[in-house]
Structure formats: C-alpha cells, structure tokens
C-alpha cells in the first residue's frame, strides 16, 4: 500500500490521464457512438474539448468541490464525459442503474445527498421529478435527449448541450478555476462512488480513490498486455464497477477506444460492426448467445447442420491448441521478425529434409523389393504425409474449420477479433466456456468485486479452466480464513462505505484486509482459487453435512432450459428446489414437439416440461453425489415456478443475483408445500410491472419428487 503516484508517472487522476491522452494520442479515436445509423467518432483531442466545456458549464451551474453528481443513463459518450467532467471540477460522480425504480433512486440520491444529476431522457427526468420533494439537497438536473421535455419547467432542468455552450461562453473567466480544481486532485481524492447491487439489504456506497482505480487499471492492463489499439464495446450498466474500470480506468490508462451501442436492442449488431478486441460479459450473455446459435442451427439446412456439428466436435479437442489468438496484435519488432524468419527457414528446411529422406527411402525400397513387398511395406509404414500423423493434419483441419465454421460464427457473434475476453460475476457452465474457447476465443474468468475495484484473481493466458477463477491479480494478497472465507488486500481496496462506518469496519479491518463474503480454497497443484459459494449461504444440514446451495444451483443452471434455480435446505434434513425455465429454450423445444402454450405460466406447468426438468434434476443429483462433502445437497423435491424471478419484484438484484431470503419469504407457501409432501399447491403472487403498477397471478403448481442417488461416501464406508 506504500505506492505513490510515482509508479504511474505522476498521473494521479482520471482528468490528468485525459490531459495526457489528448496530448499523446490527439488524433486517435477515443469514443464512438452509433447515432442515426452511423458511427460518430470523437478523438482524444475532441474529447478533451467536450469534457472541458462541460466541466466549465458545471462550474457555471454552481457545482462545488465534493458535491455528488448522479449519472443516470445507458452507455453513451456524454455520460462518460459527465463523469470525467465531474471529477475535473472536484465533484464525485455517482453512476446509478438506469432501470432502477424511482424509490431505489430516491434511496441512493438521498443517501449521498446528490445535488446534481445528469440523466438521459424524459423517462429519467420524470423519475427524478417524482422523488424530488423527498430529496432535500437536490438542485439541478441536466438531460441529454430533449425529446418530450420542451414543456417542462426549466428552472432546475438544463439541456446538456446548453450547459456545454454556457461553459464555452464562460471559458475565459472560469478556466483558471477549473485548472486549480483539477490540480488539487491527487492519488487519495475520490474518483467515483459506486453503489453495490445490494444482495443483502440496502445498497452501500463504495468510495474508490484515484489510487484504487488507476493502480487497478494499470496492473490489469499489464497483466493482459492491453494496448492503445484495443476496441471495446461498452454495454454493461454504467453503475457497475466493471464498466467503470474497463470503459474509464483502463480506457484512459491505455488510451483505447470506447464504443457505445445505438440502443440496448441493437447491441448484437453493433458488437458485430465494431468487433471488439477486448470483451467483457457476465456468463448470462454468453449463455444467451450460445442458446440462440444452437436454436438457429436447428433450423438450418442439412449441410450446414452437419458441417457445424462435425467441426464443433473436432474443435473441442483441438481448439485450445490451434485456435487461440496470438498474444499481441501489435506489429512485431525486428528481433521478433528475425526469430520468425529463422523459424520458417528451419521449418522449410526440415520439410525438405524429410521429403528428400522419404524420396531416398522410397528409391531404395523400390530397388530392394519387388512390387508385392512394396505393398506390404506401405501398409506397415506408409510414407510421407503420415509422418505427421496427428499434428499437421489436425492443424490443417482446424484451419479449414476456421474458414468454414469457426470464423463465420465468430464474426456473426461479433467475437471475430477478440483477443482477451472475460466472464465474471457468476460461475459459467463448463460446456458454454468450452464452446467459446474451442472457437478460438480467449475467454477467461476473473473473480472480483466492487470493493476491490474489480480484480482479485484472474486467469493468465494458457492457464484457463472452467472451474477455477485464476491466480491472484498483480499486487493482490489473498488469505483464506478457517471457515473458508476469502480475504484480500490490494491497491484497489476501497476507501470506505460512504456514511457507513459500521459496515466499513465489519468488512475491512485495520490492516486493510477485506472480507469477500465468499468461501473458497486454493487448489494445491495449480495455485488457482476455487469459489464454493457465498460464505453466509454455506450452511449445515440437520445431519451436520455441508449445505452449499450455489454449487448445486449452478449445476442446474448449466442446462440451457433452466434459467434460474433456488435451493433450500439449510438446517433441514433434505433439500428442495425452485426452478425457473428459460422461455427461449423451452419455447423452442415446445414448438418442435408440437406443444401448444399460451403463456409462460402454462408452459412452466406443462407435464412434459416437468418431465424433462426432472431428468435434469436427477442428473444433477447423481453428479452432486460424487462429491462426498456435498452429497447431502441432493434435491429431494422440486417445483417449476409460474413466474420468472425478477428484479422489479425484488426477487433479484439489478445484476440478476437471486435474493435468497426474499424469495424464501415471498414463496413461503411453496417451500412449506415442498417439505410437507403435498403434490400440488395453489398460490397467489404479487407482480410489479415495469412502470411500477402491481398485479397478481395465481397458479396451481405441481410438486415433484426427484430420485436421489446413493451417497458415494456411504457406499465406500460400508
């Protein structure tokens, strides 16, 4: 923790990095956004001007040092500029999830006492106006899209471009102020405040300093050899720490280009058009695109279908070896070129030698044996090509597959140029992971959290596996407590929870060790970290054996037709589960099998769907039984829920993690039903629509028993 900004060459804040980039990479693209069907581009020099105009405009509006500025909208350059402009004037940007309901925003804006907000459009303006009476400190709001806002009261409401214009107009008188404020920023001043998604209770405001952000960005960029030539697509929520690190931290550190999609719906098209080289997504995104690929292949012609499956099966064994991208896209230097030329020469020489050798051998064979003997000889040890029995042929086959299948598929998915890809946030299914890696996409896993400025562990190139999360990131120390909980200490360790010293104290101790709340262990031979579950979710069954719900749920979720699963059983003698079907996958399956359905609810209750889910549950039980430590977590009874678990109903967080306690409480009747052995339960559930209205759905659910596999350990003991 003793580093100072000297390690980064005196660049102690994001605005300082912006100054450097504007000088160093002036004409390089910094931001792109698709607007009106065309990618609009801003270079670093233009970006600096835009941000300066905005910063001056904010001073003009009355923004003081230390004020909080809420940023509410989808990923757009204007919002990234707003964050940096806020930092430049000494204020603290607070990005907020743009799909939050008004009450959620009220809590966050109230908690940090935000005085200003930069919001996207009428929808967000309406939400803030709705809660404005309860926010005592709130002063001004800036909006980007003026549509529908003409008639609003503009005393506290300003258009983004007007603020910039005012800033430009007041350039001469305010520039001195801006410069002095910018120079006051140091390594310990606050860079950003991000609210945790609140899996447990109310969201907490995590304060990250410039040190946290810049050191983390620097270390992680070096870890993956990121350069200024990377392209990323920013589509993940801006309020999430990952987006801040990738689209601000690393982008400003390396000077690479941030691309913003046209709208949430066009994300996939935009991804394809940009072809990012560095890509980040939670497992769910990979899952969804894999499901859609598989569904579309089912509808394709016979030839394509056969080609696809033939080459995908082949890629499973060889993709890792031949498909991975070269380490660096940068042009090779002289030394490297010489090395390559030498290698090629050696290769050609070797091939020539082999050919000559074979020729001579063949000639001798011809001389020494008659034609019959030659046949025999050939059969025993065929000549030439088969000297390369495995490798070369596989290599060429993979290259061919690349032309026919992998390349076009990667291009369609938008992964054609991905050099480093990360998935994090949840465990990813081994099959999904393998699918993308075998295509030659360097998809890796990392483990991180907001409090660590993302990086705790990450997988280095060449040491990638589906079941671990990698080795500690540079400068990160990790220790495992007796109860299995993971603790870390790093330059990225957060400063504090804003206005919440108790929580800060209970998470971060005096020496700087932070409790992750996750339980895990280091694998002895590889040194990789493996995560089992949330430490507080790991419980005990009635007979004292370990209860690790996430472990079982993840196994269930790896089936494409299961979207979400919730396991119950802490302190009980056996486990039961709720299951959510995936409408896309199951719907497609239903169509294929001539099963008619009118609604999600009807499909979820269909006996054939239940049969197939039961099959999955029993398969999971068998696999869980293999692990003696967790064999008690097998699912004895289950049901398929009549509605999707949803963040609007409070059942999940905005980052789509299940709120276990709330689900257990809300569906108490169903849990009780699963334990008391009844075969069906009628229930009535309240649902919240996107606009905040409430309704209810009632359903009668069928509860099923699943076969439980005998425990491996018991068999061994007997």
């Amino acid at each position: 923790m003793a580093q100072s900004s000297q390690a980064t060459g005196g660049l102690a804040s994001i605005p300082a990095l912006l100054q450097r980039n504007a000088a160093q990479f002036a004409d390089k693209d910094a931001y792109r956004e698709k607007e009106f069907g065309i990618w609009q581009t801003w270079t670093w020099a233009m970006t600096e001007k835009e941000i300066e105009a905005l910063a001056l405009g904010l001073i003009n509006l009355g923004v003081k040092e230390g004020d909080f500025v809420a940023i509410i909208g989808r990923n757009r350059p204007s919002f990234y500029w707003s964050m940096v402009a806020a930092q430049s004037v000494g204020a603290v940007p607070v990005p907020v999830y743009n799909d939050s309901a008004a009450e959620e925003m009220e809590y966050i804006l109230g908690h940090c006492g935000a005085k200003y907000a930069v919001v996207e459009d009428q929808e967000q303006v309406d939400k803030i106006i709705e809660i404005q009476d309860k926010l005592h400190t709130f002063e001004h709001m800036v909006y980007i899209d003026p549509r529908g806002l003409r008639k609003y009261d503009h005393r506290q409401l300003h258009e983004f471009s007007h603020i910039q214009a005012q800033g430009r107009a007041a350039h001469d008188e305010l520039i001195g102020e801006l410069k002095s404020r910018r120079e006051k920023l140091d390594y310990d001043s606050t860079c950003v405040m991000l609210y945790t998604s609140g899996t447990t209770g109310k969201p907490k405001g995590v304060v990250l300093s410039n040190r946290n952000v810049i050191e983390s960005a620097k270390n992680s960029s070096e870890f993956d050899n990121l350069t200024g030539d990377e392209e990323i697509l920013s589509y993940l929520p801006m309020a999430w720490v990952g987006d801040f690190i990738f689209s601000v931290g690393q982008a400003y550190w390396c000077g690479f280009c941030v691309n913003c999609p046209e709208s949430a719906e066009t994300m996939m098209t935009d991804l394809r058009e940009i072809g990012p080289t560095y890509y980040f997504a939670p497992p769910r995104i990979f899952e969804t695109s894999l499901t859609s690929v598989m569904i579309r292949m089912e509808d394709s012609g016979d030839l394509k279908y056969a080609l696809f499956h033939h080459f995908m099966d082949f890629a499973k064994t060889t993709g890792e070896k031949y498909g991975m991208p070269k380490r660096s896209l940068a042009k090779p230097d002289m030394k490297r070129r010489v090395k390559n030329a030498f290698r090629y020469a050696m290769g050609i020489g070797f091939a020539m030698e082999t050919l000559v050798e074979n020729g001579i051998r063949m000639a001798f064979t011809k001389l020494r044996h008659g034609s019959k003997a030659r046949e025999h000889f050939k059969a025993k040890d065929p000549i030439l090509l088969n000297l390369y029995r495995g490798n070369l042929r596989d290599y060429f086959k993979y290259r061919m597959g690349n032309v026919l299948v992998y390349g076009p598929l990667k291009d369609t998915l938008g992964f054609g140029r991905v050099r480093v890809g990360y998935t994090a946030g949840e465990a990813i299914g081994p099959e999904i992971f393998e699918f993308y890696r075998s295509l030659g996409i360097n998809l890796k896993q990392l483990y991180g959290q907001t409090e660590a400025t993302v990086f705790i562990t990450a997988q280095p190139d060449g040491e990638v596996r589906a079941d671990t999360v990698g080795v500690p990131s540079p400068d990160v120390e990790i220790k495992i407590a007796d109860n299995g909980e993971i603790f870390y200490r790093s330059p990225g360790t957060f400063v504090e929870y804003y206005n919440n010293p108790e929580s800060t104290a209970s998470t971060k101790d005096a020496e700087g060790w932070v409790a992750t709340g996750d339980a895990g262990f280091f694998e002895e031979d590889s040194g990789h970290l493996r995560i089992i579950d949330r430490a507080k979710d790991v419980g005990k069954m009635a007979d004292g054996s370990m209860f690790a719900p996430k472990y079982v749920e993840n196994k269930l979720k790896f089936y494409p037709d299961i979207l979400e699963a919730v396991l119950f059983g802490n302190g009980k003698d056996r486990c039961v589960a709720f299951i959510n079907i995936d409408l896309t996958a199951v719907g497609n399956w239903a169509e294929r099998n001539n099963i008619a359905y009118a609604s999600y609810q009807e499909l979820a209750g269909h006996p054939k769907v239940l049969d197939s889910i039961q099959g999955h549950v029993e398969a999971v039980n068998r696999s869980v039984a293999d692990d003696p430590m967790l064999a008690g977590c097998q699912i004895h009874r289950f049901l398929v829920l009549h509605k999707e678990l949803d963040a609007d109903d409070g059942e999940m967080t905005r980052t789509r993690k299940v709120r276990r306690v709330i689900v257990a409480d809300k569906f108490k009747d169903l849990v009780d039903g699963l334990y008391d052995g009844s075969s069906s339960v009628s229930t009535n559930t309240e649902v919240t629509y996107e606009d905040g209205r409430k309704g209810s759905i009632s359903a009668t659910l069928e509860l099923r028993d699943a076969k439980v596999a005998p425990m491996a350990s018991k068999i061994a003991a007997e």
């Binding site: 069907g37 549509r147 529908g148 003409r150 709208s263 098209t269």
Partner: protein, 270 residues
Amino acid sequence: MSNDSYVTDDGRTIGPTVMEMKNITLRFGGVKAITDISFDIREGEIRAIIGPNGAGKSSMLNVISGFYVPQEGEVWYKGAKRPPMKPYQVAGQGIARTFQNIALFEGMTVLDNVMTGRLRQMKANIFEQAIWKGKAEREEVENREKVERIIDFLEIQAIRKTPVGRLPYGLKKRVELARALAAEPSILLLDEPMAGMNVEEKEDMSRFILDMNDEFGTTIALIEHDMGVVMDLSDRVVVMDYGKKIGDGTPDEVRNNQDVIDAYLGVAHD
C-alpha cells in the same frame, strides 16, 4: 373558420384553421356514406374522428386525402378551396397518411420503406439514380439523414435492416407511421393507429403521437376506436354516426353530449 391562436393547458400553441370541410356529402350510388358534414382542423392540434362501425370515419379520411371526391361540399386547405385532386397531388401539398390495414412493402427493409416516404422530395431522374453520381447521391445522403432522425425518434433502430414482412403487427404500424412522418407532412392522417395493439403498444404509440405533435408541430387527424386513447390524446373530437355529424368539441364536451352517449350505448332507432 377562426384565425386566432390559443395556448392549451399543457402549453402547446394551437394555430388558426388549416383545413376546413364544408358541407361534405359523399355517395356511393344510392348509399349516402357522408351526409352534409362540416368541421375544421386547426394548426398544431390533434383532431380525432370517432364513431361506431360504419359511421363513415374512414370515408371522411379518404375525402381529406383525396382518394374520394365528394359529390357535394368543399374542402378548404390553407385558406384556399381545393379543386378535385388525385391522392398524390394531395400528398404533394403536405398531407400524409397511414392505413387501417397496413400497406407497406413487405419484402423491403424498414429503412427502404421509410425512404419511400421521401420519394416526393427526390428530384433525380432514373438515369442519375442508375449511375449514382451527383444529384442522386447527394439527395440520397440528405434524405437518409432525415430518415435516420425519424428512425431514432420512433426507436426502431434495431429493426432498420429487417424486412418488414418479418415484423410483428405493432412494429409494422410504427414503420408505417415512420414512412408517413418521413414525408414531413403538415397534416398527418392516422387511420386507427392503435387497432389490434396491446396496452403497452398503445401506450408507446400514444407517446409517439404526442411527441410528434410536440416536436415537429405536426397537425394530426386520427380515427380511433379506443375511447380512453381518444379522450387523452385529442384536443377536439368529431363524432359521426350513420354518416352524420352528431357531436363536435373538446373531449369533455363530447363525453357529455346526449347524442354521442346514445350512439355509443345504443337507443332504439325509429
């Protein structure tokens, strides 16, 4: 006919009369579709025409758009009497419309469909178009820019390159609206813009109609069956029944009009 302007409760300015129908009567052989109807449309307002099935609403819209020529009566547009015209001539005067049954080019993409809305603004001839130089190219760029603004406005970016035939009904309606809007009309005629939509789609469409009126100042005349929508959206309402006008006024006035109540709830006809 009125020449004064006024400001509505929600801050919009309603201008003077832009179109006036005077004693229109339309007959098909012996059937009287419209009998002696007069009403006006003012600049910047949202004017609804409502009535039970077969009341003659669509015929009225067709008279405005020039598709039908009434046997009696006059259409006054921008202060001048309009001679009988072909629909394309009417369109040239700045009156665009959407259809009750969607009339898009199913095999073309959304973008191309919307571009057809700008055909009247393109002056390049077929040879210039074919060699794609000079005027043709310049015009395409200019018009594409306008069209992209409309695509952005109606939030149909994601389906820009999708053939219209593959789209669901609600989106097709929106594409049709986009095409009409692309012509930059001074009066936009909407024939049942919300027929067959679910609640959410209706809400979206209402939002777009209001925003269109607000953003571009487009005068809108619409036919709609959903009373909730009509009462919320429109500034003034004309009510028709059996080809006759039975009410005309603000939504509140119309709601309390006994004839209208009778027409909708039904009374015994002598």
